[in-house]
């Protein structure tokens, strides 16, 4: 049976908070990993797994499921936290992140048999191509499953992304939606300083995509974007979701130095307390 999806904003806010808390706990326990992007995309993950994609946690390989491809494997902690929150496996397992023998690899690895994981990924610029292949296969088989792919903004500097973008439009893959976690930061600093991406929306439009922009922390902005993508008949859609790296922890928000860092156990205690204090996601 398909997982029951919700549009209840309060419920989504609580889920996003729980996912953020899981991310902080698992990274503190791991002692390494990518906190900034994992927190920053938590609302996108919440929207996807609890409002948008059809899936069945008790039957991870259900053929009728929509496919979710995480192209930026380094934010695996938020994917794992979301899958656990949805019931694919027990939340206690999140504490095994990055440890020897764990199903929760530093970057997603299917060899380790984690339920709900569609693709081993971590080398940037590949997930969109794989998503195009899935969307093509679904079209060939006349199936209406949809494919969702989350890309980072810095990742768009990889040329292969644009090869994939070209091919998705050429083959009219309206069953494909790409979400860009547009936090405008990468390891060396601002994306616009490292290698400018703007005008980003125009780039995607020029490549033949329906390009949508939304606030990546506001479910009232995210949900209509996904709806609009679903209604599109001729073009693949890209949702450029504006986000803040580290969202939810005021002291690290927008700080690129938290891209690839994990909190210490002491920091984690403070971060968890801060997250417990408020659900800022629905207060926009």
């Amino acid at each position: 049976m398909c997982y029951t999806l919700t549009n209840d904003l309060e419920k989504l806010g609580l889920l996003a908070r729980a996912i953020r808390q899981s991310v902080v706990r698992s990274l503190a326990e791991a002692g390494s990993g990518h906190l900034g992007g994992s927190l920053g995309s938590a609302d996108i993950f919440t929207t996807l797994y609890f409002s948008v994609i059809r899936h069945t946690p008790d039957e991870p390989l259900w053929p009728g499921r929509d496919r979710f491809i995480l192209s930026i494997g380094h934010i695996a902690p938020v994917l794992y936290a979301t899958l656990a929150e949805a019931g694919y496996f027990r939340k206690e397992e999140l504490l095994s992140l990055r440890k020897l023998g764990s199903r929760l690899q530093g970057h997603p690895g299917r060899d380790h048999q984690l339920p709900g994981l569609e693709l081993s990924a971590g080398s940037l610029g590949q997930g969109l191509s794989v998503s195009v292949g899935m969307a093509l296969a679904l079209k060939m088989d006349r199936l209406d499953n949809r494919v969702y792919c989350l890309c980072g903004d810095g990742e768009l500097q990889e040329g292969s992304v644009w090869e994939a973008a070209m091919s998705a439009a050429h083959h009219k893959l309206n069953n494909l939606t790409v979400i860009i976690d547009r936090n405008s930061l990468q390891i060396d600093g601002s994306t616009e300083k490292v290698m400018a991406l703007e005008p980003l929306k125009k780039k995607w439009e020029a490549f033949g995509w329906q390009a949508l922009e939304c606030d990546g922390h506001d479910f009232r902005s995210l949900l209509p974007a996904f709806n609009k993508a679903r209604m599109e008949l001729l073009h693949p859609s890209v949702i450029i979701a504006k986000t803040v790296m580290g969202k939810g922890i005021a002291s690290i928000e927008g700080d690129y130095r938290w891209h690839g860092k994990a909190p210490t156990k002491e920091q984690a205690v403070a971060f968890l307390r801060e997250l417990e204090g408020g659900i800022q996601n629905i207060e926009h």
Partner: protein, 320 residues
């Protein structure tokens, strides 16, 4: 001696690949093919005209082609993607490593224009490093058929029997077609194509024909050379290689590829550990090819039957 092989006529291994793809596609509707612009040049046009709805044109964008192949494989298709080996195996190495091999996906990557026998196109288009790079990839199977007939069988086996990623290399030039369907094709099982126990020539691809001519010549002098057709570089038939080392006591490898990382390396890795014997290498020695006719280039780079004979004499001199 088993059979004295004769050339039934020259035919490119590329054509054999195209025929094998078409035949496998007729038998299995899950087979789809990806085109990167040069479909006729790599033998995929046969499939594309017969099954246009299963042919996906992706243009000159090889990295995307491999990723798309991964997505197709994850969705129940058996994707076949072929272009020149310098592009399909080398430009896309990271995509092959992560999207295909790490994910253990059954996709067939065809590498055309293997070796210097490509001819006048020159160095940029002559794949001489593809075996080396493909065989170090975990989960990858690497095939290197010796003629058009075998290329057809190898392609069908890659599509029908494999469960993970497969790289299959083939050439451009029409070369002797001499093996038979009756010889069969089993992935990972070397073929003994000429018996002998004075020396063993372990070869792959187009070099099998050259190795056979060398063996026939040496036979006239009373030197009985064993010739092993290593159509599967990985998994390598270690048993056949070690038995050859034990029974013949000296080896010559022959390939249209860099010796470093290629068949020469693969054979050395096995015998140095299991049964060290003297060995000579026929192949490209750390250099690029160039323009010329296929025949001229094979001569210039020491890849003819005559060069194999020279290698055999040198090796025999070291035999204990």
């Amino acid at each position: 001696m088993l059979t004295h092989f004769i050339n039934r006529g020259n035919k490119s291994t590329k054509l054999g690949f195209g025929e094998g793809l078409l035949e496998a596609a007729i038998l299995n509707e899950r087979v789809v093919a990806i085109g990167a612009d040069i479909t006729a040049s790599v033998g995929v046009d046969l499939f594309a005209s017969r099954f246009p709805e299963r042919f996906i044109s992706l243009g000159i964008a090889e990295q995307n082609c491999v990723g798309v192949a991964a997505g197709l494989a994850l969705s129940g298709k058996i994707p076949v993607f072929a272009t020149y080996g310098v592009f399909s195996a080398l430009r896309t190495t990271d995509q092959i490593r992560v999207s295909l091999c790490y994910n253990r996906l059954h996709a067939v990557i065809g590498g055309a224009h293997a070796g210097v026998s490509v001819g006048p196109d020159g160095a940029t288009h002559q794949a001489l490093e593809d075996i080396a790079v493909m065989r170090v990839m975990p989960n990858m199977t690497v095939l290197s058929p010796c003629d058009a007939t075998q290329a057809r069988l190898a392609t069908m086996a890659a599509i029908q029997q494999c469960r993970g990623p497969v790289y299959i290399r083939f050439g451009r030039e029409a070369m002797p077609d001499f093996t038979s369907v009756e010889m069969g094709f089993q992935i990972g099982l070397a073929q003994l194509v000429h018996e002998g126990s004075d020396i063993a020539i372990i070869a792959t691809g187009h070099m099998i024909w050259e190795a056979l001519q060398a063996a026939y010549e040496l036979e006239k002098e009373g030197i009985h050379a064993r010739v092993l057709n290593i159509h599967t570089i990985k998994p390598l038939d270690e048993t056949a290689v070690v038995i050859a080392a034990k029974e013949c006591g000296v080896l010559v490898t022959a390939e249209e590829h860099q010796v470093a990382g290629g068949l020469g390396s693969a054979v050395s890795e096995v015998i140095s550990k299991q049964y060290p014997v003297p060995i000579e290498f026929i192949g490209m020695n750390d250099r690029f090819g160039e323009s010329g006719t296929p025949h001229e280039l094979m001569q210039k780079f020491g890849l003819t039957s005559g060069d194999i004979i020279k290698g055999c004499r040198k090796a025999l001199g070291k035999k204990k």
